[in-house]
């Protein structure tokens, strides 16, 4: 089989895997949240509500697709795709187990960070193209937030890079053989904590969901979207959440490393990603949203200097011990 065809098939499988994962991650979140809120959660569609995501997807597909009369049609219609594309693309670089992944690039982490921050283009297109004041305000907030939070996110993601001496995601995992970076004295714990915070901000989830802000901006940039376009936006958002959860598990929790035979690797990795996801979900459903100026304050006055110091400290430690891990 020609390598191009093989890659195409692999990409097709991965894409559908992402979509399937997203539908069931929504169910996981709903069930988990329901327990937090002393409810049962989806229960009627299928046993224990297992078919609920399918029903939701079907409902969204059958909904009328409304385009506001005053919308900038091109921008409005393209925005969900522009938002979805980077969110799915980043999966291409994640190795789920040794050799199991589309492309374990030698600049994997850089690719991940660069592409995932492109989602702002889609967000802004949606906010601008809707020609709605709520959406416009939300788009402006989105730009503010992404600019403020991508820097600390990148700095904290660089901590494992400095420790392992490679940008290749597979290499970072291999360097954690023996000691997961979350267990690295002080640096690891602080790094993981900072990663969780910046990850929530990068995903635009409560308490940093000022761009959705349904109680003030109704639903922000997606207020005018309905039907499948809305579904695409949701899909992109959850895909991003899943990807960053995997990245967190990879950078700090040792990726596929775990007891048992090698083929269990992908399962270990997924379990760790689920743990990261549930941690973030727990935060999401226990905090109130903070204000736009407070978000910027936290980012520039606290997180940015803190992550920068953390990165510098990591560099000093590595230099002291004489060179990074595998290099």
């Amino acid at each position: 089989m020609a390598p191009a065809v093989r890659d195409l098939i692999a990409a097709f499988i991965l894409l559908n895997g992402v979509i399937g994962a997203v539908t069931y991650v929504t169910l996981l979140e709903r069930k988990f949240t329901a327990r937090l809120q002393s409810r049962i959660g989806p229960y009627r569609v299928g046993p224990h509500g297992l078919l609920q995501p399918i029903a939701d997807a079907l409902k969204l597909m059958m909904k009328e697709d409304v385009v506001p009369a005053a919308a900038d049609r091109w921008v409005y219609n393209l925005a969900p795709l522009a938002f979805l594309l980077p969110c799915v693309l980043i999966f291409g670089t994640i190795p789920f187990a040794p050799g199991l992944g589309l492309a374990d690039l030698n600049i994997g982490l850089l690719f991940f960070l660069a592409v995932s921050s492109l989602e702002i283009v889609g967000l802004f297109m949606g906010g601008w193209g809707s020609n709605n004041k709520y959406a416009l305000l939300s788009a402006m907030r989105a730009v503010n937030q992404i600019i403020s939070y991508d820097l600390p996110f990148i700095f904290v993601a660089l901590v494992p890079v400095v420790l392992s001496g490679t940008l290749r995601l597979g290499g970072i995992v291999e360097a954690q053989r023996g000691l997961w970076y979350v267990a690295y004295p002080i640096i690891g714990q602080l790094g993981f904590l900072a990663y969780l915070v910046t990850m929530i901000a990068a995903e635009n989830r409560v308490p940093f969901d000022i761009l959705e802000a349904e109680s003030e901006l109704v639903a922000g940039f997606r207020v005018e979207y309905s039907g499948m376009k809305f579904a695409l936006i949701q899909l992109a958002e959850y895909a991003h959440v899943i990807a960053t959860s995997y990245l967190g598990a990879l950078l700090f929790l040792g990726g596929w490393l775990g007891p048992g035979p090698g083929w269990l690797g992908a399962i270990w990795f997924t379990l760790k990603a689920v743990v990261v996801f549930l941690l973030v979900t727990w935060v999401r459903w226990s905090f109130v949203r903070i204000r736009v100026d407070q978000i910027l304050g936290i980012s520039w006055k606290l997180l940015l200097p803190a992550t920068l110091m953390l990165l510098l400290a990591t560099a000093f430690v590595v230099a002291w011990e004489g060179g990074g891990g595998v290099a």
């Binding site: 949240t33 937090l36 809120q37 002393s38 409810r39 004041k133 709520y134 305000l137 402006m140 907030r141 989830r205 409560v206 308490p207 969901d209 000022i210 959705e212 802000a213 349904e214 109680s215 003030e216 901006l217 109704v218 999401r284 459903w285 226990s286 905090f287 109130v288 949203r289 903070i290 204000r291 736009v292 100026d293 407070q294």
Partner: protein, 386 residues
């Protein structure tokens, strides 16, 4: 708002580009149907034009066309979140004009109903307020569901007492319409015990939460002077440092018999109003316990049961009765002409007077604070528009 008034409220305007944004009448945090026309400079609000009237149902005119027997159950529909309160204000006014005695058992039952209603209403306030700040897809929804869990228990009590869960028709001129059924007192006692432990849980969840503090402290400050000038009442005025509570200032329905505190905070911000209401939860529970403990035996009404709606007639006269509702002072002004219907009636809605403070405290804040302030004022639009 006329241009002259707007000039006073607008803050130092730097001449930047402005955006006029409608919030409501259909809006997730409009608390009903409230329309705020916000003038924004970026994210900051420079002026707010509050538009009310979307829920006007001619309540005061309706009061003239319905008899003293009929109206109490309609009075429920002014403030539908605290239906017991407005019913009580109406029958108190009618009883003052007719110089009708109310048996002590009925008075105590009224107090119990009013205080349970306050707890239920504050549960709804806390839940919706947190939802305003935390969103329906965040921590706010969690608090909301917790609060509703407790509110359900209280509504179950009302259901056992009156057969209704939202709009009761519990009060009637001369007493109450229903007596507490068998076992209700014990059930009520165990429910308030449970609710009290849950209030500790809310406090633990919210007060150690840095984000909650950041959203409430120093936001929407009502100064003592402003509070007096506008005439706000209830938790708003107590949050601004004035110990004004109708239950204490002018005790009615036997409130003088009970031992309770009137919580006062001096900061005047959302946090102060939150603290006042959290203490009120506990004080209400205290009052309910005392009233259950000393609930006298005897009749529940000084008047015989009515066979037709026109049977209750009170003499000529006029009276203003006021009660302390969960949202503040609820007043009912009644003019009677000797027939079975009042000649004229007028409501003083606590939400209406409290809402008037909004254009004075919102400018200068961010859009997100608008909903936090709005929630801390806790208006019910049935009562604002009537």
């Amino acid at each position: 708002m006329d241009p002259e008034a707007r000039k006073v409220i607008e803050l130092g305007y730097a001449g930047n580009e402005r955006l006029v944004m409608n919030m409501g009448p259909q809006h997730p945090s409009a608390h009903g149907v409230f329309r705020a026309i916000l003038t924004l400079e970026g994210e900051s609000i420079v002026a707010v034009d509050a538009v009310i009237g979307y829920l006007h149902r001619c309540h005061e005119k309706l009061g003239e066309t319905l008899t003293y027997v009929q109206y109490p159950s309609i009075a429920s529909k002014t403030d539908y979140v605290a239906a017991m309160t407005s019913e009580l204000a109406y029958v108190l006014a009618a009883e003052t004009i007719g110089k009708i005695e109310v048996p002590r058992r009925a008075q105590y039952l009224r107090v119990i109903a009013a205080e349970l209603q306050r707890i239920a209403s504050h549960c709804l306030w806390l839940g919706t307020w947190c939802m305003d700040m935390g969103g329906a897809l965040g921590g706010g929804a969690t608090v909301f569901l917790y609060c509703f869990r407790e509110r359900e228990l209280l509504l179950d009590l009302f259901e056992a007492l009156t057969g209704a869960r939202l709009l009761y028709g519990f009060h009637q001129v001369g007493g109450t319409r229903y007596d507490a059924p068998a076992g209700w007192v014990e059930r009520c006692r165990s429910t308030v015990d449970l609710v009290e432990t849950r209030i500790d849980e809310y406090e633990a969840m919210l007060e150690d939460n840095a984000f909650f503090l950041a959203r409430t402290q120093g936001v929407g400050v009502i100064s003592r002077e402003l509070a007096q000038e506008i005439g706000v009442s209830g938790p708003l005025i107590r949050g601004s440092g004035i110990a004004y509570d109708v239950r204490r200032v002018e005790p009615y329905s036997g409130y003088g018999d009970f031992d309770f505190k009137v919580p006062v905070e001096t900061a005047g911000d959302c946090w102060a109003r939150y603290r006042v209401r959290m203490v009120e939860f506990r004080e209400s529970i205290k009052i309910v316990r005392q009233a259950l403990e000393s609930l006298p035996a005897g009749p529940i009404s000084s008047r015989p049961g009515v066979k037709s709606v026109g049977q209750v007639r009170i003499g000529k006269g006029e009276a203003y009765a006021r009660v302390e509702g969960p949202r503040g002072e609820v007043g009912c002004y009644l003019v009677a002409d000797g027939s079975a219907k009042p000649y004229r009636m007028k409501w003083r809605g606590a939400s209406f007077s409290n809402l008037a403070v909004l254009p004075h405290i919102v400018p200068g804040h961010k859009v997100a604070d608008m909903v936090a302030i709005m929630g801390s004022v806790d208006p019910v639009f049935g009562e604002v528009d009537r």
